[in-house]
C-alpha cells in the first residue's frame, strides 16, 4: 500500500483537515457558550453536533483520491457492458487485433530467440569466431590449420583460450547394425572455451589430447538417453568406432547443442599427430573466448601482431594471411537477420493497417455515441473521465485481441518452426514471459494509437449541445478523416503486396532457371567414412570404386558418381590457382570455385562436355575439367586445354592438366549465376562426400535397395541421408520460401483489412446519406447514377492510396535487393498487377454498399423522417 500513500500524501492533508475542522468546532463551542452553556456542556454539544469526525474526514479524503481504483473498475465494468452490447463491432476489433498482434508476437518471438537473446553459453558475448583470411579471396577460408590454431592460442594475450572443431559422420558398430552418428572432433580446450562442464563425468585429460594417449569420447545427452537409456553407468563404457574403441568419459547437459543439435559425440584430436602439422591443410572451425574486459578491436590488433610474427617465421605459408575475428553470435545468425527484420517490418505494417482500421471503426462508433456522450457531459462528467472511459474500452478490446493473438501465435509457432527449420537457433523459439510482455506492450501501444484520437475527437465540447438534436436528422460531417484512413490502409497494403509480389516473382524466376544439369531423378546419400581412412588413399579409392561399380550394376540405376558438395546447394571452396605455363602480370589472377567429383559426375548430372575429354581417374598426374565461364574469363584468345593448374591448398601436389571444358552449371545455388569453376577428378569418397545416383523411377524408391546392396559388402558402414536432389534445392531455398509465404500471407491479410475498412466506411456513408439518396431518387435520379457515385467515391480514395502505395513500394524496394532474383525492385509488371488486383478487390468491396444505396425506397425513407 506504500505506493498508495506516496500518490496521496495523506498525512499532510490530514493535518490541514484537522486544523480546518478544529476551527469549526472551536467556533461552535464559542457559539454555545454565547448561548449560555457551561464550557463543558458547550464542548460536548459541539462535538455531538459535528457528528462522526472520522467518517466524514474519510469522505473528504475521497475527494482527493481521484478514485483511481473505483474509476478504473467502473470504466472496466462499463467497457465490458459496451463489448456485450455491440458484439459485432467488438468481435471485428478483437479479431483484427488478434491477427495483427498475434502475427507480430510470433515474428517477434523468432527475432527475440534468434537475434536478441544471447547464445546459451555463459558470458556468450566473449565467444568469437576466428578465420584465416587471404586478401585475394572474396570469401575467407572458413577453416584454420590445426598447427596455426595452436600458434594463435600460445602467442596471443587477449583470449582465455582458442579451440576448434570439425564434424564427421561415423558408424558405431557395437550394436547389431552399424549406426550413423555425428561426431565432433575437437581441438584441446574445447569445453573450457564454451564454459560448460559435463553434466556427468569429466572433461578430456591432457593425455587424451596427445597422440598415443587413451581414446576418449564425451557423449551428448540425446545419445546418452537413446543408447544408454540415461543410465549413469554409461561412464566408462566402450564405443566401437571404425577400428578403435573409445571410452565414454563424460555426458554433456541437454542444453549443450554445439556445433549443432545433431551432434552425438565429441572426441579430441591429438595435437601432435603428424597429419595435423601441415600449415596448409585447414580443417578447424576456430572459436575463442576473450579475456574479461577485452574488446574485439584489442583482440583483432593482438592476433594481427601474432600473425605478423608467424608470417616472418613461415613466410611461405603465412605471409599473406590475416586473422578475421567476429562475434560468434553474429556469424551464427547474420544470414537470417535481414529476412527476420523484413518480416518484422511487414508484420508491423500489418499492425499499423489494423490500427488504422480500428481508428476508422472507433470514429464511426463515436459518432453513433454522441448522444450518450452529451448526456454524460450534461451530468457533469469531466472530459478526462470520458476519455478515460473510452480508452478503457479500447484497451479492453486490445487486451482481448492480444490474448487471442498470443494463443494464435502459440498455435502457429509449430508451423513457424517447421517452415523455418533452416533458420539458426530455431529450437530456442518459444512463448515465454518476454513474448507475453511484448504482446501487452503491443496492446498498450495499440490503445494509445487507436484509442486516443477518436476519444479526444469524440468528446469535443461542441458536441455538448447535440442533446437537442435528434441524431437521425443529423447529417454527419464530410468524414474526410475516415476516407484518409482508408487511403492509408490501401497505400500500406499496396506496399506489402508489391513486396510479396516481387518475392513470388523471384520464386517463379528461380523455377524457370536452367541449372545447366538435369536435377530430376537424382538420389543423393552419404556413406560413413572416417578421416582416418584418408591416410591410405589408395585403399579408400578402391573401396569407392567398388561402391560406385556396385551402384551402377544395380537394376534401376542409370549412373552413379560422387561429389564433395551437392550441386545446387551453396558450398564454396574458392581458391587462387597458378598456371604452370605462367601468366603475364597484367592478366587477371586465376580464382575459381573448386569441386571434387568423380569423372562419372558429368554423365550422371548430364552436364555436357563442350571440348576435350573427361578427366582421368588415374594414379598418374591429375587432370581437371574447367567450365565455360573459366575458359571465357581467363583464356580469351588462347587454347585452354593442355595448360596445367596448380592448387597448393587443395591437398594435390604437382600440377593438373586441363583436359576438357564442360558446360556452365549452377553449382552454388539456383540463384547463383555460374562462376569460373574447376572440377578436380577425385575418385575418393572422403568423409562427407555425397553419392549421386541417376535412377529410372522416383529416386526415393531406390533407397532401400541401395542400402542393402552396400551393406552386403561394406557391413561396417552406415548409409544415410537419402534425399532426392530436388529436395536439397528446396531446402536451400527454405529461408526464401519462409519469407515469401509469410509476406504473402501478411499482404493478403493487409488487403482484406483495407477492404473491410473501405467497405465499412462506404456502408457508413451510405447509411448516413440514405435520406439524401431517397430524396434524389424521388426527384428522378437514376439508380445507376447513385451506384456510380458511391462506387466512384470508394475508388477515388483507392486510386490515391494506390499511387501513394506505389511511391512507398518504390522507396522501400531497395530493402529487397539481394533477396530478389531475376526481377528488379521496381518491376513495373509486378507493381501494375498489384495495383490492378487492389482496384478490382476494392471495386467489389465498394459495389456492395453502393448497390445497397441504390435500393433505398424513397417513400419509406421520407416517411420515416
Amino acid at each position: 500500500m506504500s505506493w498508495w500513500k506516496s500518490i496521496f500524501p495523506k498525512r499532510a492533508s490530514d493535518a490541514q483537515m484537522n486544523t480546518e475542522l478544529r476551527f469549526h468546532i472551536d467556533e461552535l463551542i464559542d457559539e454555545n457558550i454565547a448561548a449560555g452553556m457551561s464550557a463543558e456542556e458547550a464542548r460536548r454539544r459541539a462535538m455531538l453536533d459535528f457528528g462522526g469526525q472520522e467518517k466524514f474526514k474519510e469522505e473528504v479524503r475521497d475527494v482527493y483520491r481521484i478514485r483511481v481504483l473505483d474509476a478504473t473498475l467502473a470504466n472496466l465494468k462499463s467497457a465490458f457492458r459496451f463489448i456485450r452490447k455491440s458484439p459485432t463491432f467488438s468481435a471485428t476489433v478483437i479479431l483484427t487485433l488478434a491477427l495483427a498482434i498475434g502475427a507480430n508476437s510470433a515474428v517477434f518471438s523468432a527475432i527475440d530467440a534468434i537475434l536478441l537473446k544471447p547464445l546459451p553459453f555463459p558470458q556468450s558475448d566473449q565467444l568469437m569466431r576466428l578465420q584465416q583470411r587471404h586478401p585475394k579471396l572474396s570469401i575467407p577460408n572458413p577453416f584454420v590449420a590445426p598447427i596455426r590454431l595452436e600458434d594463435w592460442n600460445r602467442l596471443n594475450s587477449t583470449f582465455q583460450a582458442i579451440t576448434g572443431y570439425y564434424t564427421e559422420d561415423i558408424s558405431e558398430t557395437s550394436a547389431a547394425l552399424p549406426e550413423e552418428f555425428t561426431e565432433a572432433l575437437v581441438a584441446p580446450r574445447f569445453l573450457q572455451v564454451w564454459g560448460v562442464a559435463p553434466a556427468l563425468g569429466r572433461d578430456f585429460s591432457f593425455e587424451e589430447g596427445r597422440a598415443g594417449g587413451p581414446d576418449a569420447v564425451i557423449i551428448s545427452d540425446r545419445f546418452w538417453r537413446r543408447r544408454f537409456a540415461a543410465n549413469p553407468n554409461a561412464l566408462g563404457q566402450k564405443l566401437h568406432i571404425g577400428n578403435s574403441s573409445y571410452t565414454v568419459v563424460g555426458i554433456m547437459p541437454a542444453s549443450f547443442l554445439f556445433p549443432d543439435r545433431d551432434v552425438d559425440l565429441w572426441s579430441p584430436v591429438p595435437v601432435d599427430v603428424p597429419y595435423a602439422q601441415s600449415r596448409e591443410s585447414t580443417w578447424y572451425t576456430a572459436i575463442g573466448r576473450l579475456k574479461p574486459g577485452i574488446s574485439i578491436d584489442q583482440a583483432r590488433a593482438n592476433l594481427g601482431t601474432v600473425q605478423d610474427q608467424l608470417a616472418q617465421q613461415f613466410p611461405k605459408t603465412d605471409a599473406e594471411l590475416s586473422v578475421g575475428i567476429d562475434p560468434l553470435k553474429e556469424t551464427a545468425i547474420a544470414s537470417s537477420r535481414r529476412s527476420l527484420w523484413l518480416l518484422f517490418g511487414s508484420v508491423s505494417l500489418l499492425l499499423l493497417i489494423a490500427c488504422t482500421n480500428i481508428i476508422a471503426l472507433l470514429l464511426a462508433r463515436a459518432t453513433q455515441r454522441q448522444h450518450e456522450i452529451s448526456v454524460r457531459f450534461s451530468m457533469g462528467a469531466p472530459r478526462g473521465a470520458l476519455i478515460a472511459q473510452l480508452l478503457t474500452e479500447t484497451f479492453l478490446l486490445a487486451l482481448l485481441g492480444a490474448l487471442l493473438g498470443l494463443l494464435a501465435a502459440n498455435a502457429a509457432s509449430g508451423v513457424f518452426r517447421s517452415l523455418a527449420a533452416s533458420l539458426p537457433r530455431v529450437e530456442e523459439i518459444r512463448l515465454d514471459a518476454r513474448i507475453v510482455l511484448y504482446s501487452l506492450a503491443c496492446s498498450v501501444i495499440v490503445t494509445l494509437l487507436c484509442g486516443l484520437f477518436p476519444a479526444i475527437r469524440g468528446t469535443r465540447r461542441n458536441l455538448y449541445g447535440s442533446l437537442n438534436q435528434a441524431s437521425r436528422t443529423q447529417v454527419s460531417g464530410r468524414n474526410s478523416l475516415q476516407w484518409l484512413l482508408v487511403g492509408i490502409q490501401v497505400a500500406l497494403a499496396v506496399t506489402l503486396l508489391s513486396g510479396a509480389g516481387l518475392l513470388l516473382r523471384t520464386f517463379q524466376e528461380l523455377g524457370r532457371v536452367s541449372p545447366g544439369y538435369d536435377p530430376s531423378h537424382i538420389l543423393t546419400f552419404q556413406i560413413s567414412v572416417g578421416w582416418g581412412e584418408t591416410a591410405d588413399l589408395k585403399k579408400l579409392r578402391q573401396k569407392t570404386d567398388r561402391i560406385l561399380e556396385a551402384l551402377r550394376s544395380t537394376p534401376g540405376v542409370e549412373a552413379a558418381a560422387i561429389s564433395v558438395g551437392v550441386p545446387g546447394v551453396p558450398f564454396k571452396y574458392q581458391t587462387e590457382l597458378k598456371l604452370v605455363e605462367g601468366r603475364a602480370e597484367s592478366e587477371p589472377k586465376l580464382f575459381a570455385d573448386n569441386h571434387l567429383v568423380s569423372a562419372s559426375y558429368f554423365a550422371t548430372m548430364k552436364i555436357p562436355m563442350l571440348e576435350g575429354a573427361l578427366c582421368r581417374e588415374t594414379d598418374g598426374p591429375p587432370s581437371v575439367v574447367v567450365n565455360r565461364s573459366f575458359a571465357n574469363a581467363y583464356f580469351t584468345d588462347s587454347q585452354v586445354i593442355g595448360h596445367h593448374l596448380e592448387a597448393s591448398n587443395l591437398g594435390y601436389s604437382g600440377s593438373a592438366e586441363i583436359v576438357g571444358i564442360s558446360g556452365d552449371a549452377r553449382e552454388a545455388g539456383l540463384d547463383q549465376p555460374p562462376v569460373p569453376t574447376v572440377y578436380w577428378c577425385a575418385p575418393v569418397a572422403e568423409p562427407g562426400t555425397y553419392f549421386l545416383v541417376r535412377t529410372h523411377n522416383a529416386p526415393m524408391t531406390m533407397a532401400e535397395t541401395i542400402r542393402e546392396q552396400i551393406h552386403d559388402f561394406e557391413p561396417q558402414r552406415s548409409v544415410y541421408n537419402f534425399a532426392p536432389l530436388e529436395q536439397h534445392f528446396s531446402d536451400a531455398l527454405a529461408e526464401g520460401r519462409l519469407r515469401t509465404i509469410l509476406l504473402t500471407f501478411f499482404a493478403a491479410t493487409a488487403l482484406s483489412l483495407a477492404c473491410i475498412g473501405l467497405y465499412g466506411t462506404l456502408s457508413y456513408n451510405v447509411n448516413v446519406r440514405r435520406r439524401e439518396v431517397g430524396l434524389r431518387l424521388a426527384l428522378g435520379a437514376l439508380r445507376g447514377q447513385i451506384i456510380r457515385q458511391f462506387l466512384w467515391q470508394g475508388l477515388v480514395v483507392c486510386i490515391v492510396g494506390c499511387v501513394a502505395g506505389w511511391v512507398l513500394a518504390a522507396a522501400s524496394g531497395r530493402l529487397l535487393t539481394g533477396l530478389l532474383y531475376g526481377v528488379s525492385p521496381t518491376d513495373i509488371p509486378t507493381l501494375t498487377a498489384v495495383i490492378l488486383l487492389v482496384l478490382v478487390v476494392a471495386a467489389v468491396a465498394s459495389l456492395i454498399p453502393a448497390t445497397r444505396a441504390a435500393r433505398v425506397e424513397p417513400m419509406q425513407v421520407l416517411r420515416n423522417e
Binding site: E20, E27, F56
Partner: protein
C-alpha cells in the same frame, strides 16, 4: 422545519456554497452560519456534507483556498471564488431560475 442536506436537490448545495463564497472570502464555519442565517434557519447544512463539498469544489478549481486568521485570531481556511467558479455559479443560477420558474408556473397554472 429545517431542510437537511439529503432533502436538497442534488447540486443545490454546491450552488449555495458558491453563492455564499461569492460574497467574499469565508471559512467553512462562516458558510454554514450564513446559509442558516440567510435561509432563516430553513436550510441546515451538516458538516458531513459541507466539507466534502468544499474540497470537491476546490479540486474542480471553482474555489480557491488560503490559510488565514479568523476575526478571533484562530487559524482558519478561507475559501474564495475563482473566475471559473464565478462562471459556473452564473450558469447554475440561471439554470436554477429557469427550473424554479418552470416549477412555479406549473404549480400556479395547475391550481
Amino acid at each position: 422545519m429545517p431542510i437537511e442536506k439529503s432533502d436538497l436537490l442534488q447540486g443545490t448545495l454546491d450552488m449555495l456554497i458558491l453563492k455564499i463564497v461569492a460574497l467574499g472570502p469565508v471559512h467553512g464555519y462562516g458558510i454554514s452560519l450564513r446559509i442558516r442565517q440567510i435561509s432563516k434557519e430553513v436550510l441546515q447544512v451538516q458538516q458531513g456534507s459541507l466539507y466534502p463539498a468544499l474540497h470537491r469544489l476546490e479540486k474542480r478549481g471553482w474555489l480557491a483556498a488560503e490559510w488565514g486568521a479568523s476575526e478571533k485570531g484562530r487559524q482558519a481556511k478561507f475559501y474564495k471564488l475563482s473566475a471559473k467558479g464565478r462562471k459556473q455559479l452564473e450558469s447554475e443560477e440561471s439554470n436554477w431560475n429557469r427550473l424554479a420558474g418552470a416549477v412555479a408556473n406549473i404549480l400556479q397554472t395547475a391550481q
